[in-house]
Structure formats: C-alpha cells, structure tokens
Symmetry: C2
Amino acid sequence: MQIAIMGYGVVGSGVAALIEKNNKSIARNSLQPEMKIKYILDLRSFPDDPFGHLVISDFSQIANDDEVSIVVETMGGVHPAYEFVLECLKKGKSVVTSNKELVAVKGCELLKVAEENNANFLFEASVGGGIPIIRPIHQCLAANEIEEVAGILNGTTNFILTKMINESMTFEDALLLAQQNGYAERDPSADIDGIDACRKICILAALCFGKHVYPESVHTEGIRKIALADVEYALSWGGAIKLIARAKKLESGKITLSVSPAFVQKSCLLASTDDVFNAVLVRGNAVGDVIFYGRGAGKFPTASAVVADVIDCAKHIDKRKVFGWEDGNADFVADYLDNETAFYIRLITSDKSKTIASLTETFGEFDVLNRSDAPENEVAIATKAVREGDLEGKLASVFADEIASVIRITDY
Amino acid sequence: MQIAIMGYGVVGSGVAALIEKNNKSIARNSLQPEMKIKYILDLRSFPDDPFGHLVISDFSQIANDDEVSIVVETMGGVHPAYEFVLECLKKGKSVVTSNKELVAVKGCELLKVAEENNANFLFEASVGGGIPIIRPIHQCLAANEIEEVAGILNGTTNFILTKMINESMTFEDALLLAQQNGYAERDPSADIDGIDACRKICILAALCFGKHVYPESVHTEGIRKIALADVEYALSWGGAIKLIARAKKLESGKITLSVSPAFVQKSCLLASTDDVFNAVLVRGNAVGDVIFYGRGAGKFPTASAVVADVIDCAKHIDKRKVFGWEDGNADFVADYLDNETAFYIRLITSDKSKTIASLTETFGEFDVLNRSDAPENEVAIATKAVREGDLEGKLASVFADEIASVIRITDY
C-alpha cells in the first residue's frame, strides 16, 4: 500500500521515520504485504534527509496518483490543508490528520465528504498526541451515554502550571523556560490563551455528543492571570490549578463547554498530570470515570497516533469505518453563563470584616481558604455551586474593585 | 440482532440492564435496527427480575438457535464456560466474555476456533473492567513495538494497600474491611495472592507480544507479607507500594513477567491510583508511556466493556475482525531469576554496623531508607538493579535470618 505525507515538519518527519522503523509490524498490523511512502509534499527541499528523494512540491501529483490510497496531512493550519484534504477525499483516498485546527473547523464537512466517497477521515493524533482517545471513546465506550469529557489538553500550559506549582516559579519565568525548552512558541498565545485546548475540546465534544461544535462557541480563558497566590490557595484547598477544557451534557440535552483554569482535587489523576503530559477524563453513565494519560505532543508520540490511523485506514480500505457526527447548530451549545459550578475567589480588600460579611450575604455558605504569608488585606474563599451568570453579576456589582482572581472548581 | 447472555450474576445482569437502559444508542452504534436479548442462561430462576422470563437452563437452546448471533459469557471459571463458548464459536456465533480465567487459560485456542468459523471472540472486560485497554493496545498503539505493559490489575488488593498507606491500617484490618465492603471474597486468596492479577497480565502479555502466556509460567507473589513498616519506607523512598503485574520484552526477544508488590515512584500515576481503581501502563517505542485508568470491576463498568464488544461484534458480523495471537511456548517466557531490577530490603539485625558492612560488600552502592520510630535493630535499603537470581542467592547465604521484607522497585 502506498502513502503520501503532506507537510514534512516535526510530525510529518516522525511519521516517515516511524513507518521505516517499525515497518514490518506496521505492515503486518495493516494486513498488507508492504507499507510504502511514495511522496512527501513540502515546499522546502531536504537534500540530506533519508526521505529527501521523495519530496515533491506539487500537490496534484498526489491527487492524481491512483496508487496512493492513504494521505497523511501534517501541514497544520486550515489552508491549504483543507483544500488538499478535500480533494484527496473526493478522489476516494483516505486521509489521516494530526491537524486539530482543521478538524475543529472543518471536521464535520470532511467526514461527510469521506462518507460520500467511501473513504476514511481519521484524526486520533489531533487530540492528546499519542494518547489513544478518539477511538477508545468512539468504540470502547460505545455502550455509554457520555455525560462529560474534560482534560488537560495542552502540554505547554501544563508545563508552565507545573513549574508554578512545584517550583513556585512565576508565570513569566515559567513561560520563558517553556520557550527555552521548545515547548512554547515565540508568540505563545495559541497555547496560553487556551486556543489550542479549545480546538481539541471541540473535537472531543463532537465525538462524545454527536454534533459539531465550533471553537467560537466555547468560552475560553487562558492562564496569563494565574498568580502564585492562586497556586498556593489551590494547594491549601487540597488540589491543583490546571487548565481544564471540558464539555458536559446538560439535562436539557444541550452541552456546556469551557476552557479555563480550574481547581482539581488532589485525588483526581488530572491533578497529578504534570509537565507536558496530557490527560483526558471521560465520564460515562455505565463506566463512571475513565482517564487516558500520556504525551500530548512531540514527534514520535504524535506519529504513533497518525500511523495507528494509517493502519486502520489500510485495514478498512474497501469497507469504510462508520464514523462521524452531525452538523452543529446554535441551539446545541448552552450559554456558559447558565452553567453551574463552584468558584474560588480571591479578593484584596480595605475592610476585611466588611468583605466577609458581604460574601456571606452574597453566597451564603462558603469555605475560607488560607495560605502562609498572605497579606493582611487578602481574602480567599471557595463557594458552593452557583450559576456563572449570577456570579458574574454579583461580583461586578458588589466586589468590583476588590477582585484579584476568580477560578472555577471542578467536581473531580 | 439477537443476543444470549450466559450467567446472570453481577456482570451478566449488568449487561442486560445496560442494553435495556442505553438501547437506542447501542443499536445505533451497532448499525442495527435493534439489539435484543433473547435468552439468559442460568440454573437459578429469577421470578421477580425484569428479565426473568428470558432465563433458560438448557444451553442447547442457545447453541441451536440460529437467530442468536452474539453470545455473552459472564459465567466465570473455565468449565463449563469453555465448552459452551467453544460450541457457540463452532456454530459461527460471536462470543464476548468478561472471564479472565477462560481467556488466560484457553484464549489462544478460542481465538483460533473463532477465526476458523469467521466469528469474533472478544474480551475487553477481562482486563481492567470498564477501562478501555485491549482495543487501544491492539489498534491505537499498533504502530509501536511494545516494550512493557504493567499495571494495577486487581482492585481488591489496591483497596487494601490504599487503606494501609493512607490510614495506616494493618493488612488484616484492611482485608476485613474489604470483605465487609464486598470487595473481597470470604476466601480472598485469588485476589490477595495475585492469582487474579496473574491471569490478567497473561492476557495483556499475549496481546502486546503476540504469543500466549500461561498463568503457571508467571512468577506470582501476593500482598500478605506487606507490613506497615514497608509502607512507611516506600513513602520515605518517595513513592508507594502497589501490587504490580508486569510483562517486559527483553533484548533476547523473550519476555519476563511477574506479579508482585513493588515500589512505584510518586511521580508515576500508578502510585496515585487508589482504592478499587485499576491502571495500566503501556510503554511503546514511539508513544512512550501511556496510562489507562478507571474502575477495574463492578457491575456497570464491566458491563460497559462487555457491551462495547457486543457492539463491535454486531458491526463485524459479516466481516470478522482480525485479532489474535500465536500459541505460547516454553522458550518465550524468560526465567524470572534472570530479570534485573532494583530491590528494597528490610532487615532485623542484632549487629547493625556488621549488617551494613555486609550489605556494602554484597551490593556495593545502595540507599539507606529511614522512617520515624523505626526499631533500633532495623535496617532498610534500596539497591541498584541486580539480577534476581543473584539477589536470592546472596540474601539466603548472607542475611538469611535477618530478612524481614524484600520488595521490587520499578523504574516508573
């Protein structure tokens, strides 16, 4: 079976190297006599690369070659990846991608085109790098109604938060270290503002709840505002701050989504998921909570997931896998302000007893949190579950100038 | 599509209830107009049960009914489950089982019979209850050469160890509590002597390394001998004692297996896997370490895995899934004495400085461990990696009377 790879960056070169390295077992698992890379599409040339002689710059060579049955897309970005993938699928070629942006924005359409052309469009690598997530949810949890899916989906922010938690680094220093280690881009906003995690939770939500979810419909907060004080309060509360992307089914049938920092209890493995690792929690109505953990990025972990999809495409080359979801609609996603959740609130006040009294009046019951060496004028509490819209209103009207941090508290 | 369930105990009744509860989505995911339970095989009668009218006591009714395409085996034990499953497969019916003993002892043969009769024989529920493990290893990690698979595969022993670690309960008290909670049988030996975990690691080893592994070829130790002193030393070493079942590929191509208590580093999620939860770590040559976590037993978690397999059988009713492994052979499993690993050793000595000197002479470098309130005559160390056979010899000849505990130390 012949394969083309579009985009010869970190992941694309990992895919080529892995297919070479484990070639025999990959062919055996694919039920094919051989698995061979025929083309690599890239505008650059790689004269010293072992696969350099396969590099071409003209996409039409791939599109028009009937010998190429499976195309791997590791270019990233929506354009021209979308146009290329679309054309491959229309020609009946199966496509495997690691490109979360493409799947989050165009997934539903591409899945439909794949179906119409009896081809597969698979994207295990688009969420959680090498961690098996998409297929386990789709197949192994198929007997469950999924109630919630949530996780640590971005390794860069998790690395930064881990440094803040374990080594009391400031956000700025931890970001710098992440950049020095190659975990964060020079412009780190896609990671630290939650955009990357947002794309991934859209894919998971579509998979779990059956309809496409567009990134712009997700309430997304990043980690720029997290202070070491918040990290300390999370520890004293009995957990850790993580950037949690979550999608939850409401009784109304709608789903609520968010990407935001959140307190996670120490007893939940998500709180122990450190450094660049990712973890995804799936809550099913039969299985309870299951968690998938591993490397969410990196050359070979991501290539592992891509090549697993290639193997699956090869096995289903004449009988397409049934896999997909419906179009999204505006009604499907609930306003995040209607979501109910507990909150951690930190305030800087000029009159502590007055603030505590106002908090009591506003929230009724809450827990007061403590940390060592807290300034005299700092108050931190954990509320019971409240409607987000109500909280926003109350905070703005009663405590406006005093608010230093507001962070969600998960129930896991 | 019509289904029969053999064995209406905890898991069997969970399967029936789950198929009823999530019927619509299960049928949709199965690509079937409906999924219907036709028979339940049990020698008891269940007059007040909602499925009581489906209960029959004669297996031949199931075997001879061509309308039954999928048979769920939740009887447990090897006989007569083996004979019943064999006959179903020979009649071309697909079989789904949660019975780890059956798979560990007869799996290879039953997989072959399934293949010969174009039927599926699936057993996701036999390891890790509801946690997706079998299919993710087989499919999602198919691009990897698996180097090691290890995990906490028995919830009962993990519950006992958690109570010993978190609440300083003695083994005896924790076992009693497990029995009171229904987590342990009156005769708890299958759990606490590692027999259950042994069957499960045999299944995982066969899946990961391609040849059947028989339970009697696995070096198996239980947790009866773990003292609170050992639990404390594990904490001071920086981790926790867990009952770890592991299978690892050696450079020779053979595999080494063991079930035994082991020190696991705190940074590994296995150390944070508490109570009755299970977790499985898979180390692939591309993906690195991935971990699957969730409820390893229980009515609905186990039913979740069984019904996922039923769905998969329904989807592959006319085109069998390619899935299986080769026969085992004596050469495949290395002598555990040839395995190299680090050890924790606790000794009770009459002459501490002489013992330390002997330890230095025997092991060269090692770390001395401490705990508060240790008796004066206690010495505890963590060695570097040594060959197990060498260790056994040395311990017996030099420290025979002094040895209180010897526990493996994992590298994760």
